[in-house]
């Protein structure tokens, strides 16, 4: 089983992000809410998803820029906590995520006696991302090869195949899980399911990579005992 070779190899594709400033700034939470309502999807995406690309090697307290800003600069820990537990990968599209962010903020502001304002001069700057895919010319056909490649590949590939796959490409699952489970791939349903369920909240990209590698390692060890 550990030598099963896929008829369709997995091709690693990395990505880079070009960041574009939108020229929209919020100095308080009310304005932040208004701008979240109107900025393009790519901007909501940048501030909630591609956060992982910017913090590839470290875990941050909050997994989105909105939560971080309201805590650090508007000194509003309550709203920060409410926004911070949002897992962007729980939503099937950006509009749903946007709606949820707006719901949380509107609810919070409706119950506040004053609108928290940026204490220091660090307004929230809206940015949007342009993700550029870069095929790496790296193909794997067996689980061993996949493990070795995943251990070594540039971390943008982890982002592309785990995060981009789900939200931007609207695939039902992450690229890795699709290939691991498919008949043209490796047909490893249980491993694929476990990889699919690797949570992203609270993890860096390196953390996500290491979790998937551990799952692959366990499967390889299991296969060696057969």
């Amino acid at each position: 089983m550990s030598n099963r070779s896929a008829t369709m190899p997995f091709r690693f594709v990395s990505c880079m992000e070009l960041r574009e400033v939108l020229g929209k700034r919020a100095m308080d939470e009310q304005r932040l809410l208004e701008l979240i309502e109107e900025v393009p999807d790519d901007s909501i995406y940048y501030h909630t998803h591609s956060y992982f690309l910017r913090h590839a090697y470290t875990q941050q307290l909050y997994s989105n820029d909105f939560a971080t800003w309201v805590v650090l600069y508007a000194q509003d820990r309550v709203l920060g906590e409410r926004l911070g537990v949002l897992d962007p990968f729980d939503f099937s599209d950006i509009e749903q995520l946007r709606d949820e962010i707006l719901r949380i903020m509107a609810d919070h502001l409706n119950h506040s006696t004053a609108v928290p304002r940026c204490i220091v001069s660090e307004p929230f700057e809206f940015i949007r991302s342009h993700v550029i895919e870069i095929p790496l010319g790296l193909e794997t056909s067996t689980l061993c090869e996949f493990y070795d490649a995943l251990a070594d590949v540039e971390v943008g590939a982890v982002y592309n195949h785990v995060c981009e796959a789900r939200m931007r490409k609207r695939l039902l699952s992450v690229d890795f899980a699709c290939w691991l489970s498919s008949e043209e791939g490796l047909g490893l349903q249980e491993l694929a399911l476990n990889v699919e369920q690797v949570g992203r909240l609270g993890l860096s990209l390196e953390g996500i990579r290491n979790k998937i590698l551990r799952l692959c390692d366990q499967e390889l060890a299991r296969q060696r005992t057969l």
Partner: protein
Amino acid sequence: MLENYRDVAPHGTVELLRQLGRRVEGKSLVHINSTRYGGGVAEMLHRLLPLFEELGIKVRWEVMTGSDLFYRATKSFHNALQGTRQRITPEMYDAYIECNRDNAKRLNLDAEFAMIHDPQPAALIDARPHGATWVWRCHIDVSTPQHSVWQFLHPFVLRYDAAVFSLPKFSQRLPLPQFLVYPSIDPFSDKNRELGPDGIDRVLQRLGVPRDKPILLQVSRFDRFKDPVGVVAAYRLVKKSHDCRLVLAGGTATDDPEGAEVLAEVQEAVGTDPDVHILLLPPTANLEINALQRAATIIYQNPLGRDLG
């Protein structure tokens, strides 16, 4: 040269860059700025261009030249764009336009892509070859400029295909795409590479800086925006309770006519204090800066504006 970065760059980065390079291999790119030596842009281009070449990009670097009045004008623009009120005369505006026109005839602008650095060459857009993509790379903070100067420059900037800023808060509202390239350093440049204790000692001995006391250091051009006189004042406060030395290591750039004035102000502020060392370093003194930074106990970065060049 790219291979040298394999051990210091994140895993897989060199391969990623080579793959990215395949997409732009053979394309031509010209960088244009106003000085080949001195200042952050020149330092950056010296390191970047060989890497672009290795990735197969046909890259060139053209440097504009100008009159004293042009350099005085652009220095004033530099200060005004960063929020310090300046008196700009009509002659200065004229000198700027004329210099850009002269350089448009002299420089080789022929390339598919052009990166125009900072305000000095911004008006070269008038001579953009047909079909070329031009990007304005602004290394300074133009978020709160003197209105008249920004109004002068604005029509030129609007004609670029895109602008690039170092931070979102440095940008202006512009009806063209504005991208971000955050500041970065080269770990292998003479300014940043590893230096052993002996190497550091040799350099400081050559510079005449004893290591008998903690060193407070500022490395920057003698420029009002770096506030070296403020650094001297801070040193005097520290000196009341801690015996230390102050080293002000700087130089000038060829496009900065204010340097000598600021240096004179600093020398006056310092007086005859034997524990203050003013080092006038040439633009290529990167090893010296490296050693000074490693020897220093505290390094100041005291900009009044927010120039990250």
